[in-house]
């Protein structure tokens, strides 16, 4: 793992360690990762974050984040 700069945040997103350049919210992270927030859900450290709380939920260093959507399946 690389040494993080002062205001960067190291987190795990969908199984990969990612370095966020600045402190951010779930809302901003979804905007970065998904073309549309429709059909998307987010869990942080195993807890589902309700959509209404995305803008106010800060991503903290070390967070384990899952961003999921629909995939083909039986």
């Amino acid at each position: 793992m690389t040494e993080a700069s002062d205001d960067s945040v190291l987190v795990t997103i969908n199984g990969n360690v990612e370095q966020l350049t600045t402190a951010t919210t779930v809302d901003a992270l979804v905007a970065l990762w998904c073309p549309s927030p429709r059909g998307v859900a987010v869990a942080v450290d195993g807890e589902v974050i309700p959509r209404s709380l995305w803008p106010s939920t800060q991503i903290v260093p070390g967070a384990v984040i899952e961003i999921v959507t629909a995939a083909a399946g039986g």
Binding site: R38, V42, P50, A71, A72, G73
Partner: protein, 283 residues
Amino acid sequence: MSAPSTAGDPFVIGGVTLDSRLIMGTGGMTSHDALRDALVASETAMATVAVRRVDPSTRHSLVDLLDGLGVRILPNTAGCFTAADAVLTARLAREAFATDWVKLEVIGDDRTLLPDPVELIDAADQLVADGFTVLPYCGDDPIVAKRLEQVGCAAVMPLGSPIGSGLGIRNPHNIELIVEQAGVPVVLDAGIGTASDACLALELGCDAVLVASAVTRAVDPELMATAMRHAVVAGRSARRAGRITRRFHAEASSSFEGLATGPGVSTAQRAETAGEPVDPSSR
């Protein structure tokens, strides 16, 4: 649009009326367009989706496709081996798709993909308590089906045979036992290989079938979707019509009475050969 195939014979799960007894899976298709064509041909009212990590390279949205077709989304917990994983996946699905319906799948091993009944009942119990409408994929064990109904599942979905095997309904008697005792809809899930399997499920008394691979991996998925649509309508009609009793020997549907005879054979002799009562005066 024409009247739904369920007109006059509604199919209801958890208080919601579905206009088709064919529930479609979306996995295994080669392209987004082929999936759309098959869904349209099936005239399904509900289709399953899996919940997976976002792939930024994916161009097509499955949610948009299903919404556009007016097909209800039934998220599944495919790939989960524990109750804990299945509960988390169901909660993610509820947040993602704004539905509290879930096809609950908790499998016991990745070779057979058979359900783990202990984890399944535990997960069902937790999700029902959390307000979910739970449709559990289960084995064809009537006792497990009964337990799932007792914890509050809105339907039970026994397998005909292992997922994707196309082996049809291996234990029709167990399916009939599940149907006979069930107070909730029974949906035959998994194992269907072709239209006659789906038809048989409805003839046995299942309320619906869930079909994925049999359509999506067919040589012509759109045509197989059409076949499945007809199969569930035929099977349901046959069930409601009431089949005849099975007989060991033949029973003619044409009476022997009034049959013209050739020289040397009397009507009485012919009737006697056929086992029919003979008027002694005609000998």
